[in-house]
Structure formats: structure tokens, C-alpha cells
């Protein structure tokens, strides 16, 4: 007890304790959630963790070592949740039959979400700070330009070992279906394999010409499409999204390398490359499948200049620097949001039902999953069947829930139905949209999906997710509040 008091005096300033006491005296719903304390301690924890992860040595060129700290932070977060729960469950306005309006229930839900949101957030912190540090250490412009420069230097320094032979594709251009069929019978049509022949029309040829460095007519409708060797040994494709430059085509780069080659400049180039290697090379050896032709022809090619280490360094830098950008943020947000929502729903249900019914609900949920699994297996249900089954369950639970309003005694089945309904109502739009998507996919099973199907799919899912949250927020005052109030206060048998 004394230790707890001491910790309190260290971490909770007097103004916060005064505020806490004020909440106790004036707003029991806010006070019981302890969201203010969690938020304060959460901010402190974020500050401390940030300070730690900003100060400990962390070279963006090396492979990330944050997985162990993330594990420990995750364990600490779980301990934090348990401590918060101990404090939360001490006082319950609803179960004490205090003044508890639907606004109280909604507020309580929101505050629990905020509190749990902090705990779920902590494990994400190390990786976010790592991104921040990598972002500060290297900017996209220098990454792109210096990678290009390194490609040039590698090519010049390894000039004697460069592959100079052009790659070749052969096309047969025809204008009629019959002619094409005749040719098809003669050759195997395989794309992108050297020596193989593609059959196409003139339009395709014109379009394709832009992708190749050179085209040679072989006569009788046959064309050879030639491509200069690729001297891109290092690549930072992530960075190019954020600093787009007009890159030289293979042939232009090929010409540049050969035109600029000057044996007298080699010393200077070697030293310039040395500086860049120092800047980007990692301790690790990175094996990629690219440029295997060099590995086969000259295994020393990469070892001589330590290109694999630079590649590893660039990959690590890229990974860290761009992890928290673009679609990844959406993924991380979803992960945080749904983890927080699931935990909030569990705690919310526990706060409004009896302990016995809460655990019975969990048991029923598990049993239902098992029974559903068996049903899916024995009836060979497809996606549509599974989603329909989910909707069927929801309707049944809703029907039992409605019986609460007519009931004069506390009924276990009604209590369990109410809990499950509360847990899944927010996911109803997602189930409906998934069912719709499954129906569409089923309809187009034999033919290709329409052009913007996947874009529409993503939009529909987003709308469903937002509608789910909205539905839950509407269901709380409209149904859940009234049902819990009625059910919990009913006399027992």
C-alpha cells in the first residue's frame, strides 16, 4: 500500500489529484472511468518511452531491434490494463443504481475507449519513433539522388565486368485473326522469355515500342525488340514515391556509363563511392535475387564494392523511414482501433451485466463458433452461407433481447443475448457489406470482375466500418441502455 502511495506521489501531481477529487465529488461517471489519470500517465509513458527510444543508439541502416522492446511494452500494457481494471471495477455507477442516463452510458463507453486506447497505443510507439529517427536521418531527396549516383559509380568502377549484351523480345505483327492462328500453331506464345515470340497487332507494337530501347525489323512481320542492360544495382522505390525524379531509361543510362567512362577519374569515383558506402552500408549482408546474372557470371562483382551491404542498409532505411506512411498508417490505425474497440466492448459489457452472465456469454460465444464451424463443414457453406448464418444469429439474439422489455424476471438467455448483441451490433454493416461483396464475387465467378471492383470494395468496407461505429453509438441510447437498465434491475427467480 505504501509503495502504491509513493508511486502515486511521484507520478500524479497535486493538481491532478485535486482534479480527481473534484470529479469524485461532482461527476461519478467521469471519475470511475479514471480516463483522466490514464491519459496523464499515458502522456507520461509516451514521453518517457519517446525519450528512451530517441536516446538509445539506433542506426537506421541496421536491421530493426525493436521487437523485444515491443514485447516488453506489450506485457507492460497488459499489466497497465489489469491495474486500470482493478481501479475501474471498484466503483460502478450503473450497478449501484445511481443516476445513470443514456448520456452517462455513452460517456462511459467513450472514456473506456480513451483509456484502453492509450494502453493499445504503447506497443506502436517504438516503431513510430524508429520511423521518426530514420526520417530525420535521411530525407527522400538525398536517398533518391545518392542511390542514382551510387548506381553510376558502381557501373563506372566495375566497368570491365558490366554486361553489355542487350536483351531481346521478338514480336510477330499481324492484322487478322486467321493469320494469328496460323502463327500460333507454329510457335509457342510465351511472354518475356528470350527467344519466344509474341503475336500482336500493330497497335500493340506501337504501344510496346516506348518500353524498349530499340526495334529492329526482321522481315515478314517479325520484329526484334531490344532492351539495354539494366545497371540499376541499388533501388529505393519507396523513396521515389515521395521524391519522384525522371529516371534515365536503361539505354540512356547505358550510353551515359559508356560515354562518361574515364579511367583517370576512377580514383576520384572510388573515393566518392567510399563516402557514400560509409553513409549507407549496413553491417549485414543482404541477399537479393536481383542481378543474379552478375552473381552467376562474376560472384566477386558485389563483394568488391560491398554492394550487398549498401543494399541492406538502404532496405533497412527505407523500411523504417516509410513504415508509418501511406496505406501502412491505415493498417496500423485499424489494428489500434479494433483492438481498442474489442477490449472496450468486453469491459463495457462486464460493467453492465452480472459476472456470471458475462462468463456464460463468453462460453456461449465459443460454443457458437464451434457449432458454426461444424455447420460450415457439414453443409459446405460458402462465404455467403457464413455471412447469412451470422445475420441469422444476430436476428435471434435481437429477438431474445426484445423479450427483456416484457420480462418481469431476470432471464439468463436474455442477458446473454443482450451481451452478444452489444458486442456485434457495431459489426453488422461490415457483415452486410461482406455478404454483398461475396454475392458480387459469386456472380462474376466465371467472368472477370468489373474494372474498379477492388476500389469499390475498399470504399464499401470503409463506409461499413464508419456505419458500424455510428450504429453502435445509436444503439447504445436507443436499445442497449434501456435493455441493460431493465434487465440488470429485474428481480431474480
Amino acid at each position: 500500500m505504501k509503495i502504491i502511495e509513493k508511486l502515486k506521489s511521484w507520478f500524479l501531481p497535486k493538481f491532478l489529484m485535486k482534479f480527481d477529487h473534484k470529479l469524485l465529488l461532482n461527476s461519478p461517471v467521469l471519475w470511475t472511468s479514471r480516463a483522466h489519470l490514464v491519459s496523464w500517465l499515458g502522456l507520461l509513458a509516451v514521453g518517457i518511452l519517446s525519450l528512451i527510444f530517441l536516446t538509445i543508439p539506433n542506426d537506421p541502416r541496421h536491421e530493426s531491434t525493436i521487437y523485444l522492446p515491443i514485447f516488453f511494452i506489450l506485457v507492460a500494457s497488459i499489466v497497465g490494463v489489469v491495474i486500470w481494471l482493478i481501479y475501474l471495477l471498484r466503483f460502478n455507477v450503473f450497478k449501484r443504481f445511481g443516476t445513470y442516463t443514456w448520456q452517462s452510458m455513452l460517456g462511459s463507453f467513450f472514456l473506456m475507449f480513451v483509456s484502453l486506447g492509450w494502453f493499445v497505443l504503447f506497443p506502436f510507439l517504438p516503431s513510430a519513433i524508429e520511423t521518426y529517427r530514420a526520417d530525420r536521418a535521411y530525407n527522400s531527396e538525398e536517398l533518391v539522388l545518392e542511390t542514382e549516383r551510387m548506381n553510376f559509380l558502381i557501373s563506372e568502377l566495375m566497368y570491365d565486368s558490366l554486361i553489355t549484351e542487350f536483351s531481346r523480345d521478338t514480336l510477330f505483327v499481324c492484322d487478322s485473326f486467321i493469320q494469328a492462328e496460323n502463327e500460333r500453331n507454329t510457335y509457342t506464345v510465351e511472354n518475356y522469355l528470350e527467344g519466344s515470340i509474341n503475336i500482336c497487332n500493330r497497335e500493340y507494337l506501337l504501344r510496346k515500342m516506348h518500353d524498349y530501347d530499340s526495334i529492329v525489323s526482321l522481315g515478314k512481320g517479325y520484329y526484334a525488340l531490344l532492351m539495354a542492360p539494366n545497371y540499376t544495382f541499388l533501388n529505393v522505390s519507396n523513396a521515389q514515391q515521395y521524391f519522384p525524379i525522371k529516371r534515365l531509361k536503361n539505354l540512356q543510362f547505358y550510353n551515359l556509363i559508356h560515354r562518361k567512362y574515364d579511367p583517370d577519374s576512377l580514383t576520384q569515383w572510388r573515393s566518392e563511392f567510399g563516402v557514400l558506402r560509409e553513409k549507407y552500408a549496413s553491417d549485414e549482408y543482404y541477399y537479393s535475387n536481383s542481378y543474379s546474372q552478375y552473381e552467376v557470371n562474376n560472384s566477386l562483382f558485389f563483394d568488391t564494392l560491398g554492394i550487398r551491404s549498401i543494399e541492406a542498409g538502404l532496405a533497412n532505411i527505407s523500411f523504417r523511414k516509410y513504415l508509418w506512411r501511406g496505406e501502412a498508417i491505415e493498417v496500423f490505425f485499424r489494428l489500434w482501433f479494433y483492438c481498442t474497440l474489442a477490449l472496450t466492448l468486453l469491459v463495457f459489457i462486464f460493467r453492465h451485466t452480472t459476472t456470471k452472465i458475462f462468463f456464460l456469454t463468453l462460453l456461449v460465444f465459443v460454443l457458437l463458433m464451434m457449432v458454426s464451424g461444424l455447420l460450415v463443414a457439414f453443409l459446405s457453406l460458402d462465404e455467403i452461407g457464413i455471412f447469412n448464418l451470422m445475420l441469422f444469429y444476430l436476428i435471434i439474439f435481437f429477438m431474445f433481447l426484445c423479450l427483456i422489455f416484457k420480462s418481469t424476471r431476470k432471464n439468463k438467455i436474455q442477458g446473454i443475448s443482450l451481451n452478444i448483441f452489444t458486442a456485434v451490433i457495431g459489426f453488422l454493416p461490415l457483415i452486410i457489406v461482406s455478404l454483398y461483396n461475396a454475392i458480387i464475387e459469386n456472380r462474376y465467378a466465371e467472368t472477370p470482375l468489373y474494372e474498379n471492383y477492388y476500389e469499390m470494395f475498399a470504399i464499401r468496407i470503409k463506409i461499413a466500418e464508419l456505419s458500424g461505429i455510428l450504429l453502435l453509438l445509436i444503439a447504445i441510447p436507443a436499445i442497449i441502455y434501456k435493455a441493460y437498465r431493465k434487465w440488470y434491475s429485474l428481480p431474480v427467480e
Binding site: R90, V93, R96, G98, Y488, S489, L490, V492
Partner: protein
Amino acid sequence: MMKKSAEIKSFLEHGDDSLAIRRLLDYSLEINHLDLLKDAISISKLYHQSRLENSDSLVYSGLKVQSLELLAALDLVAPHLPFHSEPLLKVNAISKKYLGGNFSLSPISLEIKTSDIIGVVGENGNGKTTLLRCLSGQLAIDSGSIEYPRIPNSDFYSIKNHVAFIPQRIPKWFGYLKDNLCFSASLAGIHGAQNELMVDFMLERLNLSKYAHLTWDKISSGYRTRFEIARVLLFKPGLLILDEPLANLDINAQQTILTDLRYLAKSSYHPLGIILSSQQLHEVEKVADKVLFIKQGKCLFTTGEASNEKPSTVIELETSILREVLVNLFEQSDIQVQYNGVFYTLSSVSYDAQQLIQLIFSKNIPVTYFRDITNSTKRYFN
């Protein structure tokens, strides 16, 4: 109000300090003057402090002066508060049978108004707790009806907000005692400085101040009962139902709690109805306006209501003489003598209690204890 003031003065003059201080607190609360209530709380704190430190009579005399001054100030601002008794609960022939059990509660009817105290007595396992749980809305009834006139169109949530039930085994609570009290007051809509004041009042009124910063594990079961009473009283229920509240209390604490309950029920600040069950028949009968005796699920007797079953005078007697001698002494009269191993029970139709006692003394029977239980439910225990 002036009567109350005179009563407190009398307690102070006769040295009934503890009672005087408690009544002074009640009086201050009823006047509802915050400054005077604070003064009363300060006096109470000083009193309890001096008790702890075994201070000499000088401190007491100083407190007495302060108390009298406060009384005078209270008298000056005391309004005339007309008291209206309101019906709180109307129970009409309710019955209950447990599923798969042999026990059933036979139809019972009763009514309780504000400031009423109803005692429910009976042997163990005869339906007292079942009745109380039905009345508090915890247990569903099979037939009959329960009305809560103060909450029309009531749902069970409102009923449970209106009716406070303290079970015999008080459920464990967590955190500090004072935090729990502040929380309860806050739930009842008492906010800010008034919340703190009311909690201080309740701590002093039930002598819990020195336990304010302790947790459940660190207080005795008797104080847990007191704490629970403080907690529900802060919640301002209309009806308070207590199941065996005296079970964990020593004899002094029992009497203090019962006296306090009586005063709280009849308080003009927040009068409430109280229903309590207990095995302490005499103590309960002293404070209750009505006592229900329940046996095997049936209400056999209600004090104050005419009964045809046993109209005779009954007294309890403890004496050193042998039963045979006692029987012989009353052979010529209609006096029946029964012995339960501890006391003799003497019953008669022709003698009233006064005459019966005179008769006992006239026959030189050595008496170490006697009690008139003619109007007590005790006569039904055998």
C-alpha cells in the same frame, strides 16, 4: 424543534455526551444551515478526539459550552417544519415459492410510511430474508403486489434507487472508506462542497471518522455494517431494508445503531421508512413501530394488532428455585409454568403482568430476572 433542543440540553446536563453529540448533529442537519452543520461536525470531531486522548473533564466542559452555544444558534434559525407521513410501500398478499425448494412464503400484507420502523423477527430459515428481498425488488414474487407510491410508473431500476437493501453478509467493497462515501453522495446528486460536508457529517454521525482512510480489510465487521448504513443513507433512499444488521455488533453497538436508526427514520431532514430483521427481539421491539413474527413463511403475529390466539399475560422469569416448587406455589391459580432450560415462562388469563409480579414477590420467590413478554413476539418462540 424546541423539544429537540430541550432534549439535547437534558442529555448534556446529565452527561449523556455521546448521545447529545449525535443528536446535536441530527438537529444541525435538520436545520439545514451549512455553517451551523460545520460547527456541529467540529464539535463532534473534538469530542471524539478528546475521547481518544482520554482528555480531562475540562475539555468536556469546554465542548459542553460550545454545544450549548450551538444549540442556542440553532434554536434561533430553527424553522417550523410540519411533518407529513407519506406511504412508501404497500404490500398486498405477496407470496413466494422457490423453484425446487420446500420453503414457501405465505401471503403477507403490510404497509410502511415515512418514519415508520418495522421489525421482522422469527427463527432462522423461516422466511425473513426472503420477505426482505422480495420487498427490495431483488426476488421475484409469485403472487400479490408491491406498490411503491413515491415512484409512480416505476421500473425496477428506479425501485432499487429508491429502496436500499443491506444484506446480512455485506458485499466487499474496494478503495478507501471515505472515497466510497463521497461516491455514494455523488450518486445521490450531492456535489461539490456539500458532498464533503455530508460525508464528514456521516462519518461523525456513525463514529467512522477514524476509519475514513482505511480499506475493507482493515475494519471490523461491526464497522463494516456501520459503513454500509452510512453509504446507503448518503444515497438518500426512501426506504431502508436491513437484513440482520445487529448480527455483527456488540451489545453497545446494537443499541447505538438501533437508536440511530430510530432517529434517522424520524428525521425531518430526510425521513425514511425502515424494515429490519433481527434475532434481537427486545432491542428491535424497543425501536420498531410494528414487529412481524414470521414462522415457516407465515406472519403469525404483528404487534399492535389484536390476536385471538394467545390473549393471556406472559412473563419470563429466572429464579433459583426448582420447577416443582414453582408449580406447587401456583397450583391454586390458572398460572401455567413452562421451562425452556434458561427461563420459566409464566402465563395467565386472569392476572395482568403487574398482578403476576406482585404475586411472585408475595410468595417470596427469589427473582434474578423477569420480563413482561405479553406484547412481545418472544412469546411465540418455543
